[in-house]
Amino acid sequence: MSRKPYIRTLSSTSWWLAQPRYIRYMAREVSCVLIGAYTGVIVVGLLRLSEGANAWAGFVAAMQTPASVVFHLLALAFALYHTTTWFNVTPKAMPLQFGDTQVPGSIIIGAHYAGWIVISAALLLLAGV
């Protein structure tokens, strides 16, 4: 007899349950659903705002329902997960080298977090928190 290579197949729907690193990956990817939905909320808000004071007041009220709060908490969790996963890989995607010394990844990541804190604080201050 001769060759008969055996091909193992992977489930195209549940492969990601096989390893913790794949689950972490999928969590990162799924963050887009929450970020996308939240963006939708903003669009709705803008539309309401453009419709006048009453429409806007209704929107603000809707944002304070328990369902909305739960949604936003969830969105916040995934958004933060997105932020950390995004920052943590920047040294890979955009390494920095000066002369023949490589800037350590931790510095690049640290700079991103520092920027993030500044921007977030500015936004919160601007809003009046």
Partner: protein, 115 residues
Amino acid sequence: MARSNKPIVWSLFAAGGTFAAFVTPAMIVVTGLALSFGLLPPEALSYERLSGLIENPIAKGIVFLTVFLPAWHAAHRLRITAHDFGIREDGLVMMVCYGLASVATVMAVYALLSL
């Protein structure tokens, strides 16, 4: 093999991902949680204050970006995630994802222009 034209959507994905990483968590807190948790006085998000703020064209531009970039980031990632969940109709998925992002973009532009 042909060179891909993915750079168009990918550049939006990357820019959007960076923008979302820096801005979205704080935005969620401000627009979605701060009032409920009493972190903000109600007048902070009053109609007068916001419509006043947004009259400034620069502010309009920034608000546009907060919709446009994350929307396309999310759309592109969703397209890939659909594939990861075993949905192999990439053409259809692409239309839905990018379609949603386009709708969001257009509506945001419409709202901003009418403010």
